[in-house]
Amino acid sequence: GDSVTQTEGLVTLTEGLPVMLNCTYQTIYSNPFLFWYVQHLNESPRLLLKSFTDNKRTEHQGFHATLHKSSSSFHLQKSSAQLSDSALYYCALIRTQVVGQLTFGRGTRLQVYA
């Protein structure tokens, strides 16, 4: 079946430093959609980014990610971390537009300190 791997369980940073959260995936389907969801404390996950196109950078709210099918990766980056970025970040995959369910990674907790 499909799988999504987020290698870091916890990333701690000082405010102002760059952020990179890793995400790799496995699927037999050639055109998956990849997503990043962010979940703040006591809230439900909120869509942050999504991509379908190989090697195209997608950006939202200062975060960006590029889907690289050659390496099956969709890493999340931001040039300068803010305190408000502290949250759980989930990378997720959907096989095609037809299939309705997401496969989530285990999540990475980002903790930004002043």
């Binding site: 809230e43 439900s44 996950p45 909120r46 869509l47 309705g100 369910q101 496969t103 989530f104």
Partner: protein, 115 residues
Amino acid sequence: GALVYQYPRRTICKSGTSMRMECQAVGFQATSVAWYRQSPQKTFELIALSTVNSAIKYEQNFTQEKFPISHPNLSFSSMTVLNAYLEDRGLYLCGARMGGQDTQYFGPGTRLLVL
């Protein structure tokens, strides 16, 4: 915009009893609804995917006998946790999606505590 409501937001039930949770899509037609559970210290596990006019597909380790789901129209779905025990506690999320679209919109979740 697309909104998804879930209720109750939080519920406590005694071990061995059952509870029903609901999911409502507003502003779009939810042709498919996926129910997930986020257990303490775990990621989101897919329980089942419900698509209008199709059979509900349950993931391994989850059954219709334990988590019966109803998806009677394009705006509403409900799921019941039957005979809830400690291992059933967690945050239950519904993710609703419009046919042909890739984005799944999540409700705020129903947090289940089992005593």
